[in-house]
Amino acid sequence: MGFYLLSYLCFAVFVVAAGCRIYRQLSLPVHVRWEIYPVQHEPAAKAAYGGSYMEELNWWEKRRERSLLTELGYMVPEILLIRGLWKENRNLWWVSFPFHFGLYLMIGVFGLLLLGAGLTLWGSAIYTEGSGLRTLLDGLILVMGWGGLILGTVGSLGLLYRRLANPEFRNYATPADYFNLLFILLFFLSALVAGLSNNPSLEGAKAYMLGLLSGGHSPAPYLPGRSIPGAVAIVSASLLGAYIPLTHMSHMFMKYFLYHEVKWDDTPNRPGGRIEAAVRKNLDLKPTWGARHVGADGRKTWGDIASSSPEEEKK
């Protein structure tokens, strides 16, 4: 039961930490525009060369065109295949791609295990032994699971090697960077060994998920103590889930904000609109910058200061 409790606890930490990160982003004030082109929600013809709506004469009189299709056409290969790195840093891609894709596959397997366990527990008629759905799910878990474990192990080792061997990376690496890589490698390796040693069809993972969903009361809960690698895999996976949102590795989901809230945030400030209201609120904030020319005293607002002249600087 201790393993299940750890997993529940780590899941709760993940939800709270990720939630806090996301909430923090959502509650920040509207910032000035700092987009950078190409912006991928422009219509395909413009996105192809990095053009914007500001290329149009009197653009403010026209309806803005946006293309979700162009955006998805860019983001899906960017997220799944790490296309940016393929284009700009090919040497690193050879280890970064298996690492990331291995993690994606693990997340996918987690989802499939969850689905399988749910269907087993809540007795779906279409999910019986030998049914087409069960065969499909088992097959997917097997392929994605083994694929993910192999890719993840290779990628983690490759990233670790590059960070140790290449001064370009080593000079910037901190103990935390090595710890993070070793932590992830520990999960991949232990899961790989557990699978290879006595669990090739990943039945252990299915049973553990069943146990997680049923609070340990499923008919055949997995007992991690049976295998040390299995136990290590479960503990490291649980702890990783809790740890990732506390670190820079949260870029896995925070990338959404980096792209949509900054890099591609080209929404113009329309008179009377949402952004104008937010800007007015910002202009009421009272800065305390200390340089003399700013003239901030904690009482003047940004609006006051922007409409004033800089204070004469005494030499």
């Binding site: 910032h31 060369y49 202009l283 409409s307 800089p310």
Partner: protein, 539 residues
């Protein structure tokens, strides 16, 4: 060869952390290979004995060394106070979210380094990596500002903080042109260029430290006198009267510049530097608008004739003040829109960044002149004879117009129509390289900074230009079209430094000059190559 450096080495005691030795700069092809052993001329010891000059071979700011231990401690305290303020919405609502995201999510993959022309051209000097200064700031922030930072620093990346680190960081913030090429290639979306921008802000807004060319002689003079050039309103009108006469003399076309016309469709804002350094650019705009029958005006009010906003590079407060004044002048003139002339940073400043600063009546539509010019040229409002521009032309993409605004094609569609020998640089458009004069560098020349700029930050652009014309005969005049005042300034300086006019017949200018040069009704060409009129130069 110096050893490779990591961010914590910024606290080292060396009297020069990074030096470019002969032969380390990226090589230039013949006939410029005699510059390949060049180094940055050393600074005279007496000139730098009282300022911080231990970062590299040059000095951009010239920060005085603290006179006592107490003064040093006070400066460190102020630096940390400013760093804290960067993460407070009251002080930094303008960039808080972008800054937080870029501070927290870098994976240190160094993809940004490969994209940085300064790093590449310097011979891959570590301190010029986009991530170097960003990582220094991250480490200082984590250790000295975040709760418990001193306990976790050994785990998350340590750095010692002293006056040398702070002063070197300030200098290092002026070794990046803010071209943001690094940000476009980051797979995560981290923007190390933005972190450089924020470091500059910290120093300016909290400690009053900034290069004099962009603060004292820049925004302060702009707000006080009306122009960063020092030009007062009467002087601006005098300059324009002179330009009108010059235009008639040069081209045979009589042009009138409308001043302070209330209710005009367009208020045209030029970089006032154009009036002094490139008057033909300002004159060419007037000729085109008059010939096309555009309703436009210039403003003779202080600041109304100078579109620049140096605050964009280093100080949000100064930025806001300038932007508000520009918008207010347009509001009082009751124009329908503000048009930004050929000035890249003014484009981004007033059109994009100020967009979330100007509210109510100040939120007057702003447009790039390149868009308006495209309408004029392509819609047949003026007759052209492209044969008059029958010389090799390439286009420089100002980062602020192209990468920061996505205005890529209008200028190209114009050139395809009026310049039969137009060819692109490689790469171009949003992948372009900075001229090396971005973020204020074009106007900064204190100490030996102009040498550093010519040898390092502008080097990639020079290589691109040479590459674009590599198949042309040396003596054939070639034109680099740079629709941006700062870029033109940087390119002018590159050409002078490398004797490019003598060695390769390289010339530069704006887009409007090419447009006027191709106008069928012009009696004489506006573009000259040395002492030769451009219409005959290639005949």
């Amino acid at each position: 060869m110096m050893k490779s450096l990591n961010p914590s080495d910024l606290a080292g005691t060396s009297d020069c952390l990074c030096r470019i030795e002969p032969g380390e700069l990226a090589p230039l092809p013949p006939p410029y290979d005699d510059f390949n052993q060049a180094t940055i001329p050393p600074l005279k010891p007496e000139k730098i004995k009282n300022i911080e000059a231990s970062l590299d071979d040059t000095v951009a700011i010239g920060i005085p060394k603290p006179a006592s231990k107490e003064e040093e401690e006070e400066l460190i305290r102020r630096f940390l106070a400013g760093l804290q303020k960067l993460f407070e919405k009251e002080n930094n609502w303008t960039f808080l979210q972008p800054l937080m995201l870029s501070m927290e999510h870098c994976a240190k993959c160094q993809t940004c380094s490969n994209a940085c022309p300064v790093y590449e051209m310097s011979g891959h000097k570590d301190i010029y990596r986009p991530n170097f200064r960003a990582e220094v700031l991250r480490r200082i922030y984590r250790k000295y500002v975040k709760p418990g930072g001193k306990l976790t620093a050994r785990f998350t990346g340590d750095i010692n903080l002293n006056w040398t680190v702070i002063a070197r960081l300030a200098e290092l913030a002026y070794r990046c042109t803010l071209c943001r090429r690094c940000a476009t290639v980051c797979p995560i979306g981290v923007d190390n260029g933005l972190i450089t921008h924020e470091i500059r802000k910290l120093f300016s807004q909290e400690m009053g430290i900034a290069p004099k060319e962009i603060h004292d002689k820049g925004t302060v003079q702009h707000l006080k006198v009306g122009s960063t050039t020092g030009m007062t309103p009467p002087a601006a009108k005098d300059s324009m009267a002179f330009i009108q006469e010059e235009m008639e003399e040069i081209t045979g076309y009589k042009v009138e510049v409308p001043w302070d016309v209330e209710g005009a469709d367009i208020l045209l804002l030029h970089n006032a530097g154009e009036m002094l350094a490139w008057p033909e650019n300002v004159g060419a705009f007037a000729i085109i608008f008059q010939a096309a029958g555009i309703s436009w005006t210039m403003s003779s009010e202080a600041m109304g004739y100078d579109a620049v906003n140096y605050g964009l590079w280093y100080d949000d407060v100064q930025f806001s003040r300038v932007a508000v004044r520009h918008a207010d002048i347009a509001r009082r003139l009751k124009v329908k829109k503000i048009l930004i002339g050929e000035c890249g940073h003014a484009h981004k400043a007033l059109t994009v960044i100020a967009d979330r600063l100007l509210t109510g009546e100040l939120n007057i539509p702003r447009e790039s002149a390149l868009v308006t010019l495209e309408e004029i040229v392509l819609k047949g409002k003026i007759r052209f004879d492209p044969g008059r521009n029958n010389f090799p032309v390439t286009l420089h993409d100002p980062c602020n117009v192209v990468r920061a605004m996505g205005i890529v094609e209008p200028q190209r569609r114009i050139l395809r129509k009026i310049a039969p020998q137009f060819r692109e640089m490689t790469p171009h458009g949003v992948d372009n390289y900075c001229c090396g004069g971005g973020s204020g560098f074009a106007i900064m020349s204190g100490y030996n900074f102009a040498d550093w700029r010519a040898l390092v930050s502008s080097r990639k652009k020079f290589l691109q230009i040479l590459q674009a014309f590599k198949d042309e005969p040396r003596e054939a005049p070639k034109y680099v079209c740079a629709p941006c005042s700062n870029c033109k300034g940087a390119i002018r300086d590159i050409f002078a430094y490398y004797h490019a006019e003598e060695r390769s017949s390289l010339y530069y200018g704006g887009l409007v000059e090419l447009i006027v040069n191709a106008m069928a009704d012009m009696k004489k060409p506006i573009i000259r190559f040395g002492d030769k009129p451009s219409w005959t130069a290639t005949a």
